[in-house]
């Protein structure tokens, strides 16, 4: 089957189109060079050379199985036990994918929030104070303050301030996901990775979550994997389009959605497949 709607346009389309944010003069906080991911012998990510501007939101989009989540999870080495990741992940000039790196220290700077809200079976307060206590913060006032600011940043404070000692498992899906964001930012990371954080949420919670992310941008660099193209368009500065384990297009979000340079991207963002 041959689609011949606009032959001239198709020929001007490119195979691959990447514009990194530093070309627009934006400071770079994280970048990957020649990143490959293998599950056993099977290669899941062939190439992922991306740069991320600091205090920006970057969206990773693409069909299921395109490698976007694999890429994201490699950034703070959550794939360590599952997959082999080769290449460099440069965080503020340091390759965090090299052997001597302490992954635990690194993950405190590169935090992550997951697809399904995963609050611990503890109180709301303890969920947030937990990681700090483990690292030696015992001062009650300091903890109280972190809990409050984290919850405020995650826009959850007003809803739970009177119930801090209640079990976090009793929260609704949207609230639980905010709690997970609050928990992640309580350790004061630099970068926040979000793996389809809104896919388990209803539309209202989703829109609240997006507002929260836009606020968080002042303090954190955010990289978000999403299935929802409107979401990517609404909140991100840059968007990377993944397909079949490759980054096919990377550019400013407005470019990707209004003037894609790669045919597959164009098909995807216009809803022709995926």
């Amino acid at each position: 089957m041959f689609i011949n709607n606009d032959v001239t346009k198709a020929t001007t389309m490119q195979e691959r189109h990447v514009v990194q944010p530093h070309e627009a003069g934006h400071p770079i906080i994280l970048s990957t060079e020649d990143l490959h991911v293998f599950y056993g012998k099977k290669e899941a990510l062939f190439e992922g050379d991306l740069q991320f501007g600091s205090n920006q939101i970057t969206a990773l989009i693409g069909p299921s199985g395109s490698g976007k989540s694999t890429y994201l999870r490699s950034l703070n080495r959550m794939n360590d036990r599952i997959a082999t990741v080769t290449g460099k992940i440069m965080y503020r000039g340091v390759d965090i994918n090299q052997p001597g790196i302490d992954v635990y220290e690194m993950r405190r700077r590169v935090g992550m929030v997951f697809q399904r809200p995963n609050p611990f079976a503890k109180s709301i307060y303890d969920n947030i104070a937990f990681a700090l206590r483990l690292r030696g913060t015992t001062d009650k006032y300091a903890l109280d303050e972190v809990v409050e600011t984290s919850l405020k940043q995650a826009a959850l404070w007003d809803q739970v301030k009177d119930d801090l000692n209640k079990s976090a498992l009793a929260l609704s899906g949207g609230q639980a996901q905010r709690l997970c964001i609050a928990r992640a930012i309580a350790v004061k990371p630099d970068i926040l990775l979000l793996d389809e954080p809104a896919s388990a949420l209803d539309p209202v919670s989703t829109s609240q979550l997006e507002d929260t992310l836009l606020d968080l941008k002042q303090h954190y660099t955010i990289i978000i994997v999403t299935h929802n193209m409107q979401q990517a368009a609404r909140i991100s500065e840059y968007t990377a389009f993944f397909n079949q384990g490759r980054v096919l297009e990377y550019d400013t979000t407005s470019q990707i959605f209004t003037n894609p340079q790669v045919q597959v991207t164009s098909d995807y963002v216009s809803g022709n497949f995926g």
Binding site: R107, R108, V113, N118, A121, A131, L134, S167
Partner: protein
Amino acid sequence: MNSKRQNKIAIGALYGIAGLVVLILLALLGYILASGVPQLSWHFLTAPAKAFLKGGGVGVQLFNSFYLLILAMAISFPIALGAAIYLYEYARDNWVTTTIRTAIEILSSLPSVVVGLFGFLFFVVKLRLGFSILSGAFALTFFNLPLLTRSIEDSLRTINLEQREGGLALGLSRWETVTRVILPAAVPSILTGVILSAGRVFGEAAALIYTAGQSAPALNFADWNPFNISSPLNPMRPAETLAVHIWKINSEGIMPDAKAISSGSSAVLIIAILLFNFTARYVGKRLYKRLTSA
């Protein structure tokens, strides 16, 4: 309409079988309780046994059973917990792990008399611990380890992968995630498993007759110094448990009221195990509720 008739007959037969099985099982429970409960009295539960005369109690045996249970649990729980954590949280899916799993499965399928004989050979004879609480506790530990390990591993399995990732993403090590996030969440189910396995250990006899021994020297319940020979806490004294007592008096039969004592002891065993079961269910549910409720 042949198949319809066949269906009716078959289902009727199944009702019959199920009814019969319930009848047998209830008769069993009923018999133990009906013949045993009338024997129970404060005297029976606390007095020492008498070898040739009527009217002895099972006080010492009852104490021994609990003491051995606690010791065996205290030894086996940390080992089983560690092993389960390694197996579920660390071990990779390769032939070494498979071999280790097989070894644990073999241990769980060994007849308890074989475990007891090994305990006799190793602890009683080789290490010269003699017939003692300590030898018995080790034998019970071996008997208990594989099942407890599996039950804890199953408990760990009930906690989502997401919980582990949540811990790791905060910069916690796997070990911290397991001990601070996963274990607390798994406590209700682990505890249920521990109590159920306690029931099994409590009623075990074959592993004990040649390790903890078949005699119950009188104890001085005022002396709690574990180094004194008549102290209940002395781990080097021989200690016949309730289950061993039932076997012993029935195979030797020199006690005039052996049957009454056995009935009473059986009832005590069954009631204890019923209690273990109910506590396990109750505690598990209660803790789970407390963990998840607002």
